[in-house]
Subunit: 294 residues, 2 copies
């Protein structure tokens, strides 16, 4: 079965390569041409338009920046909705608003095109390794159909519920991670400026109720002033924006997510947008006029 | 060596019992008499005043509600400072402001009395089991002297640094736990009201970067509407208040700790002060006018 792949960015390219490596036939498109040529050299068929991908493949993967891009590719003129055969399946692996995912799905369904939302976590390193975690939403039969294809790119593929629920799980994940990074930053800045050794405080609390994967991964980065991403502040701002849009759309106030989004926004203003999200501690350092070190 | 013990509350009583069980001779005092009688029945010497404890013991443990109570017992008229022999060692195991701990220590040192701050985490169940975690601050020699006594009450005893640093570690712990509980509440409330199954979202994200000890311990309580403490909201408000006082005293703004303290304060107004701190999700349920269930 030929698979369509649209969106060959930092994540899309390695994901597409893993599809090729696992023996799938892929036809791909990207707005800028060099990434398409690179995939063609790796064995994919190069397409000159979304229409060409949509006409050639019955299962089409999209990996795009955000909701508007997915809406344009799926529903815009010359898009998937115009050119895919009835019965085709769109697997959108972008991280977008769950409400947008439901809306796009509803529109495609009217044209007899099915859709799953299947955002990933793990970032570029796990995209390269083929060990992403996929959180999928949609009909069970559609999920079962896409599963072997998703497994070529992921270590874990879980169906969370119906359309949109994949992105809801992703947003829940991003809220917990962002706020937890801020909590850790707040705690370590207080500890250090109040005169304790932040490394010893980290060692003292990591084994108890305060312990977390964020603490294990990010406290050492904060204390070593290592800001290499990982996951970039600019992308976390995007995800928190989608969380807040979803909260507004469904009637769920998110005061801490909004606060942390604004902290990240302040860091972006200071040119830290491309740093790892653990650089959030620099927001606190600026507030406290103090530099946290081991 | 006879050990003094002042403060026989929910935590102090089982801690004192574990000292007796491990063969230590204990002289104890408490403001209300029944707890003293109970310890006397368990083998302790009952004292009628702080002065009597301070005169009889060279190592005195205090386990009191907060900074003002410790200051009064240590420095007030008829207190430890007035009656303990030069060279005595106060081991304050209360959770208090680190700045207050340093201040009390400084005053006691002028009277040739030494001090450690050694707050604990683990709550009543671990106090009963004798498996508390102690985070201690003070001179290494004083720590070494107190260590065998502390080990009769704790599974883990760590010296974090100098006087006050034990309470700094405790506050760092309490900040991370409180804010992480709020993050989890925010994420699960959004997930549920936006239409996903919060149990499946929990299962989908617990293994990744969002995973934490708080999530493992508290998400099931939130989804089962179990509010049995554990650790009470009223006590967490006290600890966050000490964190914010310390932030004010040392120049470290703590915007998220302050927000979560006010959320807990709102729950106290609604009579949830004696509930487990995971009942924080009810603050979000009230905001969202929605009840989160499995």
């Amino acid at each position: 079965m030929k698979i369509g792949f649209i969106g060959l960015g930092i994540m899309g390219k390695p994901m597409c390569k893993n599809l090729l490596k696992s023996g799938h036939e892929v036809i791909c498109f990207n707005r800028s041409r060099p990434a398409v040529d690179e995939m063609a050299a790796a064995g994919a068929t190069a397409a000159a338009s979304i229409a060409e991908v949509a006409s050639a493949a019955r299962l089409i993967i999209t990996m795009l920046p955000n909701s508007p891009e997915v809406a344009a590719v799926a529903l815009g003129e010359g898009g998937i909705g115009d050119h895919a055969a009835p019965g085709s399946l769109l697997v959108d692996m972008s991280s977008i608003s769950p409400l947008a995912a439901r809306d796009i799905c509803h529109n495609l369904n009217e044209r007899q095109i099915r859709m799953l939302d299947a955002p990933v976590s793990g970032g570029e390193p796990k995209a390269i390794e083929g060990t992403l975690s996929v959180m999928a939403g949609g009909d069970q039969a559609d999920f079962d159909e896409a599963l072997p294809v998703l497994k070529a790119m992921a270590a874990s593929v879980v169906r969370v519920g119906n359309i949109g629920d994949g992105n809801i799980a992703k947003l829940a994940n991003q809220i917990v991670v962002a706020v937890n990074i801020a909590a850790l930053s707040e705690a370590l800045t207080l500890a250090a400026k109040a005169g304790a050794d932040p490394e010893l405080v980290f060692q003292a609390i990591r084994g108890g109720l305060a312990g977390s994967t964020v603490m294990e991964a990010k406290a050492p980065m904060m204390l070593n002033r290592d800001i290499k991403p990982g996951f970039k502040i600019n992308l976390h701002i995007k995800d928190l924006g989608n969380a807040i849009d979803t909260g507004h759309g469904t009637g769920v106030p998110l005061p801490l997510s909004a606060s942390v989004m604004e902290m990240m926004q302040a860091l972006k203003v200071d040119d830290w947008g491309e740093a790892d999200h653990s650089a959030l501690i620099r927001y606190y350092e600026k507030l406290a006029n103090y530099e946290v070190k081991k």
